[in-house]
């Protein structure tokens, strides 16, 4: 067990190029059995046909691809992120400027739309990716994973730990990746069913409306406090730090800018609430489509024992799903529409994912591995159907309910 942990920790630091966790990995602290589930994986893996040699060869191909891309970073990439940042800031200033006149309905509408887009881009294409260290290679202290802060309830530092480290290292490993259901939902049939899961379609709806707050609270791991594996004093200190940031965010959106609007106080506050909610619904939808649609696999903890580089890639591949769409759509999702490429290479700049996607797909094709992809409505529909199905006991592939499902994990879906 200890050996597994150390290997995984080492791999994470090499791979995600992010802030190393300051404290040592807690080995004696597994997730609640609820997240881990109590049964072995129900469906056979789509990679079952590969031999160890083939998996090693696959790993070497992905390593080579990574090396090639990393060696080609240059001016055009730097221009891209500077351009996105300038546009985002322009939209935010423009949107908030328009909302000073929020009593005038067209200004309200335009301002709210601009601010919604600005918040989405801030969180997804800029914040998420900068905090991954995708732009650290520029050695620009202003656009760097150690200095960036975002318009999001989560503190950049705590989000980096839960996301970059835990989620990206232990992707879709039941019992290790808390993102499997975010500790409040049952998203894979192996997870133990409890009566409260009957409510999970509603939980999901509520979570999508307040997603940034869900993530912020989630980072504090209150379910571990409840199980007694995390001291309350630690959680309390984290809550305090969170409040230190979020009170400023709240004051900005719901007090200061509304005050600037004078008689339009309530209209501006409503506009900001709308923009925050739009951002929450959008990012929730995109993120849930990354790992939960049909065709994605989850894994047992034992898989981490002596997991090779090639097996690591295979797990990232099988655990992720892409979204299809145009260039603007990809930017608006923070290129999480290329969830597969992002999980293979979390610290490669997001503008490169679209370029390497055909090559990743070609490799998958040659090795007979699925490359799950579909449009946002299609994939989100599958996620909702799964959440609904898993609200009830069972849901594994052998049950009659699941037998009718046709997992869409073929290349055709991506075309």
């Amino acid at each position: 067990m200890t050996i597994t942990e150390n290997r995984a920790a080492r791999r994470s630091s090499a791979r995600t190029n992010s802030v190393k966790p300051a404290e040592p990995v807690r080995v004696e602290n597994p997730l609640p059995s609820r997240v881990a589930g109590t049964v072995p994986t129900l469906a056979p893996s789509a990679a079952a046909h590969l031999t160890t040699e083939q998996i090693d060869a696959l790993g070497a191909e992905f390593d080579a691809l990574r090396e090639e891309v990393v060696g080609s970073f240059g001016e055009r990439d730097a221009r891209y992120i500077h351009k996105v940042i300038a546009w985002q800031r322009g939209l935010e200033v423009g949107g908030r400027g328009a909302l000073i006149f929020s009593l005038f309905p067209p200004a309200w509408l335009a301002g709210t739309a601009a601010l919604s887009v600005a918040k989405i881009v801030d969180n997804m294409e800029i914040g998420h990716n900068v905090l991954h260290g995708q732009w650290d290679w520029m050695k620009d202290p202003k656009i760097h994973s150690t200095t960036w802060e975002w318009d999001h309830a989560s503190l950049a530092k705590s989000w980096q730990k839960s996301h970059n480290y835990e989620h990206h290292t232990f992707t879709n490993v039941r019992g290790k990746d808390r993102d499997l259901g975010y500790a409040v939902m049952r998203v894979t049939p192996e997870q133990e069913w409890r009566p409260v899961d009957l409510l999970q379609p509603l939980t999901n709806l509520g979570l999508s409306l307040i997603f940034e707050w869900g993530i912020a609270i989630y980072d504090i791991e209150l379910e571990k406090v409840q199980e007694g594996t995390k001291p309350w004093s630690e959680a309390k200190a984290e809550l305090k730090a969170l409040w230190g940031k979020t009170r400023k965010q709240l004051a900005k959106d719901y007090l200061l800018f509304p005050l600037l609007s004078g008689p339009g106080f309530l209209q501006t506050a409503a506009a900001n609430l709308t923009a925050n909610t739009v951002r929450n619904i959008w990012s929730h939808a995109v993120i849930f489509c990354g790992h939960f649609p049909d065709g994605t696999e989850t894994f047992e903890e034992s898989r981490l024992d002596n997991e090779s580089q090639g097996e690591w890639y295979v797990r990232q591949l099988l655990g992720s799903a892409n979204l299809t769409g145009g260039k603007l759509f990809h930017t608006m999702t923070g290129n999480l529409s290329h969830q597969i490429e992002h999980h293979l290479f979390p610290d490669i700049p997001s503008n490169r994912y679209i370029e390497i996607a055909p090559r990743v797909r070609e490799i998958c094709e040659r090795y007979g591995l699925p490359y799950t992809a579909g449009s946002l409505p299609q994939q989100y529909g599958k996620v909702l159907r799964k959440i609904l199905r898993l609200a009830f006991p069972g849901g594994g592939p052998k049950t009659p309910a699941a037998a009718t499902e046709q997992p869409q994990r073929t290349l055709r879906a991506a075309r």
């Binding site: 802030v19 300051a22 970073f73 001016e75 800031r89 290679w137 202290p141 202003k142 940031k245 900005k252």
Partner: protein
């Protein structure tokens, strides 16, 4: 001004509530990099080709400008293929000038100096580090001045000469500049220097090493017989500086000699190594014995302030929180929390925490 300044500061901190988590400064800098106060930028507005391998960049600094002293150098950051690189160059303009001039000599095989000297277009944006360096004239300019320079070693001295010629020309009466370069065509600022001798009392001794060989202490004595009675500023290749320093130690007054070195001194000290934790960055790195903290930190992905990378510009200073570091040049140990540590020339003496 005091009241307006106070109101301005109040307004700025109020604006911070509206722009957080960004600073108002970040938005200003996005609009025009020269408006950023937290990130000193400058625009290249003119280029002067001094010689085949040396170019003076005329820079219009943004509002975050710190004025230099004549003889000092500034950090210059330039984006090449998307990556920021930092080097230091002497300021060759007068401190009061509108434009800041820095003179760059392309080092053979040097990527950054080559790009700056040959491939920087007018309109390019560069970043500025704070001016630094002890190679400056005292308030009270000594009566008899001597400057000995070679190659690009003329650049800090040119900054001094321009300031003196413009503000206190009488101090150049009887001053001597001995300058060495391969051929007359290689002399950086050749025409400017010759013009200076015509307009002031400065005496210029040009030595062309392709013909006459390297300047030795004896040769210096031949052209400046009263060298020992002068306050001297010398800058050039390490070999010449070593010879002259030894000469002053032997037969002159070492206190009257001011030396500026461009090349990094050889690391003489040693450190045991250890884990260095950069507190603000949240990054911990293993520093091998004799490895500067900065090098170890950068290898682990930290972005650290840096400038000359040889211990002279103090751009990279961070406070010591705990542990001890050893100065790799002098071997001196620093272990008092709060000590200012130059990460580029300090090694870890055991585990250490730096507030960077």
């Amino acid at each position: 001004m005091g009241v307006l300044g106070a109101i301005g500061r109040q307004a700025y901190s109020a604006a911070g509530w509206l722009t957080q988590p960004l600073l108002p400064d970040d938005l200003l800098g996005t609009l025009n990099p020269l408006w950023s106060a937290s990130e000193p930028n400058a625009r290249v507005v003119g280029l002067r080709r001094e010689t085949a391998d040396t170019t003076t960049l005329l820079l219009r600094p943004g509002r975050a400008r710190t004025r230099h002293l004549p003889g000092q150098f500034v950090g210059l950051g330039v984006r090449i293929d998307g990556v920021w690189h930092w080097r230091t160059y002497s300021a060759t303009s007068r401190p009061a000038d509108d434009l800041l001039a820095v003179t760059v000599t392309a080092i053979p095989g040097g990527m950054v100096s080559g790009a700056l000297a040959h491939a920087t277009p007018v309109g390019a944006l560069v970043r500025l580090g704070p001016p630094a360096g002890e190679f400056v004239l005292p308030q009270q300019v000594p009566e008899k001045l001597l400057f000995v320079t070679a190659g690009s070693g003329i650049t800090p001295v040119m900054g001094m000469l321009r300031e003196l010629a413009a503000s206190r020309p009488e101090t150049l009466e009887g001053a001597v500049l001995v300058h060495c370069d391969r051929t007359p065509r290689d002399v950086v600022f050749g025409p400017d220097l010759r013009a200076l001798t015509a307009s002031t009392g400065l005496q210029l001794v040009e030595r062309h090493t392709a013909l006459e060989g390297r300047l030795t202490p004896d040769a210096l004595g031949d052209c400046v017989p009263d060298w020992a009675a002068r306050e001297a500023w010398i800058c050039g290749p390490a070999g010449m500086l070593d010879d002259l320093t030894a000469h002053w130690d032997r037969s002159g007054d070492p206190d009257a000699l001011h030396v500026e070195r461009f090349a990094a001194p050889v690391f003489g000290g040693d450190s045991t190594g250890g884990t260095v934790s950069f507190i603000t960055s949240g990054i911990a790195a293993e520093a091998a014995p004799g490895t500067p903290l900065m090098v170890a930190g950068e290898a682990a992905g930290a972005v650290l302030p840096n400038g000359c990378r040889m211990g002279i510009c103090h751009t990279c200073v961070g406070r010591l929180r705990s542990g001890a570091v050893r100065d790799l040049n002098t071997g001196e140990l620093y272990d008092t929390p709060g000590d200012a540590v130059r990460t580029c020339v300090s090694g870890a003496a055991g585990d250490v925490e730096i507030e960077l």
